[in-house]
Structures are given as structure tokens and as C-alpha cells.
């Protein structure tokens, strides 16, 4: 008992996942010779880490590079530069970006992903049994009767009826399909799951069920999540810490309460102001951002957010701010992080 206790304390201190300076540039070609005329900096030097058992929420507008970041971590897209360190089951730290395909296959058991669209992420030609059983087949974990029993357990675990395992995806609703996706992700006994907008394709009424399921599974199976979403109220519910992304870079990172209640970056402030509110206790003070998200192809100079920032000054257009520490566990990339008094949300707003 004691041994287990100390061991888990050891783990507690260790990071399960560490991302260092991750970059993904997509080349842009034009013309007859297909020469490279520019680069889309989808992910541009992102660093963060996640502790075992923690949920890190990653928020940002669509097109800011969240999904690319998630896929780069799992090397579903090859990153241009940077390191991804993962602590495997034996407690050994391994570098994902330097792995050979064989090593990568081993680690894919432990790091899984849940996709955004439950309609396109299930092969319509396979039964639920085949879909959920596939990771176990790939990794040689179970066969035949054993596989079937395991699929049955998994389906019941995610709240589906086991007798539906011979059905095809088209016979299920969106929420049920997402449960199938979750069962598939759990099939290989993972320790880390990247949930890429797992509820944004679902009806609001179903969203809460899936979020609760994810919470319960995390408790039960000691999972760690990277939870990607554009929906700030969803992220507030599930995350221990939050990272805010803008144009391929992290602009703010910290524990959920400090980021939501005392944001230090003007972009975070604007995002938070846009959360729909039910109570009329306070007047709406929604910050309307000027203009559109700039193209990642031609990111603005200096601070990428400056053309839309209402606090911007001359220095913002020239120098790029670095992520600096502003609180116990709170980092911000803004020249005026300590001077601005920004508005967060009230504790009750997010419910």
C-alpha cells in the first residue's frame, strides 16, 4: 500500500507529456514549377507540458492550429521541428518525434485520439465489433472470444448496449457514434487521450452526457487528456489547466481558474467576453474584435494579435512577446501582461 502510494507520488511530479518548441509549417507552392512561395505556420513554436492525471484544455478560434498541434503530437502529421517527450508505461521518457515507425506503433497503444466528427471517423463498412476491436487486433492484444468479450465490456463501459455490436455505424445517432469512438480509443488501454473537439459536432443536449462520460472514464481508468475545443464553457468544465492559442502560438497558459477569472492576455479577455451568459447581473461587455483572423500565411509582425488588439502600442508591432511567468502557474505572451487590468468571467458564469 505504502509502495503504491509513494510511486504515484513520484508520478505526480513527473510530466506525462512535454512539448518543446513544436512547429509545423506547410509549404505553399504556386505556378508552373511548383516553387515554394511561402509557408503556412500552422503551429509555430508551441511548448507546454501535461502532468499525469491532468486535463489540459486547448482553446482558440477555428483555424488557429489546434487540430494540427494535436495531430503533430501523435505524429499523424510530421512536425517540422520541435520535440515531444512522453513517459511510457515503464516510466521511461521517450522522444516521439525521433521514433522509428516500429517504436511509434508501440507508443500508439498508450496515446490515443478521439475525433471531432463521429460521422466521418467510423468506417461505414465495419460493424461496431470490428471497429472497437481493431486497435486490439493491431496490437495483438486479444483474439476471437476474448476479443469479443473485451469489446462487450468496452461498449458497456461507454454506455452502449453490447447486443448492438453487430450493427453498422449508420444505425446509431451522433452521440452513440461518439461513444463508439471513445470505446475504440479505450480499447488499447491508453494512458493519454487527445480529444479533438469531441463534442462540437453533437447536439447540446448530448454534449453534457459525453463530457460526463469522459470525466467518469478519466477517474476510472486514470487517464490524462489534452482537450481541444473552441467552446470556452466546455473547456472550463473539464480542464485543470488551459492553454489559449492564437495563430499557431500559445498566448496564455495557466490553471483554469486564474486564466478564466484573471486573464492576462487581451485575446483571452476577448474570447471570455464572448461566452454566452444567462444571468443579467452584469451588463454585457462583449469585446468585438476588429477585423478577421489574419492568414497564417502572412502573420503580422511583432505580436500576431496586435492589429486586432485594443490595447496595442507601437512596440507590439515590432517585438514579438515571449511567454513569461505572471503567476504561480500562469504564463502569458504579452508586452503589457502586468500592466493591463483585464476582465475575466465571474465564477458562476460558466455554471
Amino acid at each position: 500500500m505504502l509502495l503504491i502510494h509513494t510511486l504515484s507520488e513520484e508520478r505526480e511530479k513527473q510530466y506525462l507529456l512535454e512539448v518543446k518548441g513544436l512547429k509545423k509549417y506547410f509549404p505553399l507552392t504556386r505556378g508552373f514549377w511548383r516553387r515554394t512561395v511561402g509557408q503556412v505556420k500552422a503551429v509555430d513554436g508551441v511548448s507546454f507540458s501535461i502532468k499525469e492525471g491532468e486535463t489540459l484544455g486547448l482553446v482558440g478560434e477555428s483555424g488557429c492550429g489546434k487540430t494540427t498541434l494535436g495531430r503533430c503530437i501523435l505524429r499523424l502529421i510530421e512536425p517540422t521541428a520541435g520535440e515531444v517527450w512522453f513517459t511510457d508505461r515503464e516510466g521511461k521518457r521517450v522522444e516521439i518525434t525521433k521514433m522509428s515507425p516500429e517504436e511509434l506503433k508501440g507508443i500508439r497503444r498508450e496515446m490515443r485520439m478521439i475525433f471531432q466528427d463521429p460521422f466521418s471517423s467510423l468506417n461505414p463498412r465495419l460493424t461496431v465489433m470490428e471497429i472497437v476491436g481493431e486497435p486490439m487486433q493491431i496490437h495483438g492484444m486479444a483474439q476471437g472470444k476474448e476479443l469479443e468479450d473485451r469489446v462487450r465490456t468496452l461498449l458497456e463501459m461507454v454506455g452502449l448496449k453490447a447486443q448492438h455490436m453487430r450493427r453498422y455505424p449508420y444505425e446509431f445517432s451522433g452521440g452513440q457514434r461518439q461513444r463508439i469512438c471513445i470505446a475504440r480509443a479505450l480499447a488499447s488501454n491508453p494512458r493519454f487521450i487527445i480529444a479533438d473537439e469531441p463534442v462540437s459536432a453533437l447536439d447540446v443536449s448530448v454534449q453534457a452526457q459525453i463530457l460526463n462520460l469522459l470525466e467518469d472514464l478519466k477517474e476510472q481508468l486514470h487517464l490524462t487528456y489534452l482537450f481541444i475545443s473552441h467552446d470556452l464553457s466546455v473547456v472550463y468544465h473539464v480542464s485543470d489547466r488551459v492553454a489559449v492559442m492564437y495563430l499557431g502560438k500559445l498566448v496564455e497558459l495557466g490553471d483554469t481558474e486564474s486564466v478564466y477569472f484573471t486573464p492576462k492576455h487581451p485575446y483571452t479577455e476577448a474570447l471570455l467576453s464572448a461566452i454566452p451568459r444567462v444571468s443579467h447581473k452584469e451588463k454585457m461587455h462583449r469585446i468585438l474584435l476588429k477585423g478577421d483572423v489574419p492568414s497564417p500565411l502572412r502573420a503580422p509582425s511583432g505580436c500576431a494579435f496586435h492589429p486586432r488588439c485594443r490595447y496595442a502600442e507601437a512596440v507590439c508591432a515590432q517585438e514579438e512577446p515571449v511567454l513569461q511567468r505572471v503567476g504561480a502557474d500562469h504564463y502569458v505572451a504579452c508586452h503589457f501582461a502586468l500592466e493591463l487590468a483585464l476582465r475575466g468571467v465571474e465564477a458562476d458564469v460558466c455554471g
Partner: protein
């Protein structure tokens, strides 16, 4: 009470079951399917349906016209058992050409399941035939230049014509799927090569190239060698259409999350291509298959008709029509073009079937419909 787990499993309808459910409603498609099945059975069991040995030459019976099946005899009397009249040959005293006429004094009653000449089907020896006559001979579609029974030869020729089409289309599908999948999935250099190959092959007008290639087959080769070569030529020239379609489909499927998901769970490229991508291209494969088979039937018949394809003694529908190239022959003995009826029937059947399958092949789409 203990519940039985296995018994209560609810089974969903698989893709092919859904296709079948939708296809069943298409009457023309069903008709096409029935035509194909009947022709297939006739060809497969050709000797069973042929009353006379179609390899036996009989100069006395050259170019005999078809006999009519009758129930009412020359005296107006009705018979329960169908019969034909025997044919007698006369020589026209002026032109010295043969004239056949029915001999109303000699009705030949048609007997069913009779035993006569011996044959072998799928390695089994038999002498059972669907029908026949006790004495004399019955030629429902007449005879050819050498007095061979045309009906038997057409049924027998159907074996070769249909086999070439099925084999050719089958290999086409395999080649086209693999090439298209490789090209679309791996991209880059492989894609470039396959794409250029497709472009080159599609730049040739089909028939002339086919003619040139089949004309290049050595005259000394046996019919079987020519047959195999024709299947190979057909499939080598026919795959680009499917490859192009599959490539496009793969390009779009490759970005679908369910394919990314297989990569994410550590699945190999082979698993992605063969278990996830190609099964989702099945509708395209079905469509191309139903287009290719009738095309190959037509192509074989044209080439063999021109004497460039299947060589006698092997018989195909096209070979049978070689005898009908000269206008005098058609004018005097019009029944020699009856193999054409079977070609048209077969192609029509496949076109009906293909049309029905094309509609049914997409019972649901991958995305939300």
C-alpha cells in the same frame, strides 16, 4: 433466468445486404440479372442443352435451316408432345444449290432428358441431354457451313465469350484497384508514374490498339494461348479507367477521419488500404465491373469476327460470326447471324444489371446524407 448473450445479438444490415435490398426494387436490373444467370447456365452446361455433338461435321447437313417446333401437324391435328419435321435435301436442277424442305410425313417427336452422345462437364462424364429426337436430327437454330448444330455451338461459344469477359473484367478490377489505391495513397513519384501510364493508355483509341496487339499474337499459338493472351491484353489496357476513379476516391478517403484513425491506432498501410479504403470504393468497383464486362463481350466479338481474336477450333460468339462475313452467305442463310442475338442479349443483360447496381451501389454515403 440466464440470458443467452449470443442469441440476442442484433445484426445490422451490411453494405451488400443494403445494396441487394435497394437493387431488388429495380425491375429492369433484376431482369438483366436473370438474363445473365440463364445465359451463364446455358453456357456452363452447354452439352446438356445441345441435342447433337457440335464438333461433329456432317457435309450432308451443311447450312440446314432451323426447324420449327410444332404442336399441330400438317393435317391440323393437335399433339401434346412437341415435334419437328425432318428435313430432306434436294438439289435445285438449275442452280445445283441445295434446297432443304420439311418432310411432313416424318414428324420427329421431342423427348426430354434423353441419353445420347457423351460429354464431360466439370470432370463428370455424362450422356444426359435436356432434349432430343429418337431418330434423325433436330437443329433448332439450323447448322453451319460444315453441318454442325448451331445451337450447340452458340451455347458452347458462350463459354469462351463470357469467360473472357469475366476474367478480363476481374483482372481489370484487381489491377485498377491496386494501381489506383497505390497512386492515391502514396502520392509522389508512384502517383506520377501511374498517372502518366493512365494518360498514355487512355490516349490510344481502344479498338485499333486492341487490334494491333491481338494481331501481334503469333499464328502458331494454340487457341488456349491466344485465349489467355486476350484476357491479359484486355486487362492490361482496361485498368486505367478504374485506377483513375479509385485514385480520386482514395484521395478523398485518405483525409477522412476513419482512415486517420487507423493510422492513429498504429495500423499498417496495408491495413489502411485493403481493409478501410478499398472496401469503401466498392461502389465504384461495381460500377466499373458492370461497364467492363459488356464492353469486353463486344470487343471480343469484334476482334474474333475480324479474325484477330479467338482462333478456331476454339469457338466464341465472334468466331461463329466469322462465317457470316460474306454478303452472299447472309443473304442465303440468314440464320448464321443468330449468335449476334446472344451477344446482344448478354450485353443488354449486363447493361440492365449495371444500371440497377449503379443506382443501388450507394445505399448510404460516408458523410451525412
Amino acid at each position: 433466468m440466464i440470458k443467452k448473450n449470443v442469441a440476442e445479438l442484433e445484426r445490422g444490415k451490411s453494405y451488400l445486404q443494403l445494396v441487394w435490398r435497394k437493387f431488388k426494387k429495380n425491375r429492369l436490373g433484376l431482369l438483366g440479372g436473370i438474363i445473365i444467370v440463364i445465359l451463364g447456365i446455358l453456357a456452363l452446361f452447354a452439352p446438356f442443352f445441345a441435342p447433337h455433338d457440335y464438333y461433329r461435321l456432317d457435309a450432308d447437313k451443311a447450312y440446314r435451316p432451323p426447324q420449327r417446333i410444332r404442336f399441330i401437324d400438317a393435317n391440323g391435328k393437335f399433339h401434346w408432345r412437341p415435334f419437328v419435321y425432318d428435313m430432306v435435301m434436294d438439289v435445285d436442277p438449275e442452280t445445283f444449290s441445295r434446297i432443304y424442305r420439311e418432310d411432313a410425313r416424318k414428324p420427329l417427336y421431342i423427348r426430354f432428358f434423353v441419353r445420347s452422345w457423351e460429354y464431360k462437364i466439370l470432370g463428370i462424364r455424362s450422356n444426359l441431354h435436356l432434349f432430343g429426337v429418337d431418330e434423325g436430327s433436330i437443329h433448332l437454330l439450323g447448322t453451319d457451313r460444315l453441318g454442325r448444330d448451331l445451337l450447340g455451338r452458340i451455347l458452347h461459344g458462350g463459354r469462351v465469350s463470357l469467360t473472357i469477359a469475366f476474367l478480363g473484367a476481374g483482372i481489370t478490377v484487381v489491377l485498377g484497384s491496386v494501381m489506383g489505391a497505390l497512386s492515391g495513397y502514396y502520392g509522389g513519384f508512384v502517383d506520377m508514374l501511374v498517372q502518366r501510364a493512365v494518360e498514355v493508355l487512355q490516349s490510344f483509341p481502344q479498338l485499333p490498339l486492341w487490334m494491333a496487339l491481338t494481331a501481334a499474337l503469333p499464328r502458331t499459338w494454340s487457341s488456349l494461348q491466344v485465349f489467355i493472351s486476350m484476357v491479359i491484353i484486355f486487362s492490361l489496357l482496361n485498368w486505367p479507367m478504374l485506377a483513375r476513379e479509385i485514385r480520386g476516391k482514395v484521395l478523398s478517403l485518405r483525409e477522412q477521419d476513419f482512415v486517420v484513425a487507423v493510422k492513429e491506432m498504429g495500423g499498417s498501410n496495408a491495413r489502411i488500404v485493403f481493409r478501410h479504403i478499398l472496401p469503401n470504393c466498392l461502389s465504384h468497383i461495381i460500377v466499373v465491373l458492370t461497364i467492363s464486362i459488356p464492353e469486353l463481350i463486344l470487343m471480343e466479338s469484334v476482334l474474333s469476327f475480324l479474325g484477330l481474336g479467338i482462333q478456331p477450333p476454339m469457338v466464341s460468339w465472334g468466331v461463329l460470326l466469322q462465317g457470316a462475313q460474306r454478303i452472299e452467305v447472309i443473304g442465303l442463310y440468314p440464320w448464321v447471324i443468330s449468335p449476334c442475338v446472344f451477344i446482344i442479349l448478354a450485353v443488354l443483360g449486363f447493361n440492365f444489371l449495371g444500371d440497377g447496381l449503379r443506382d443501388a451501389a450507394d445505399p448510404y454515403s460516408v458523410r451525412r446524407a
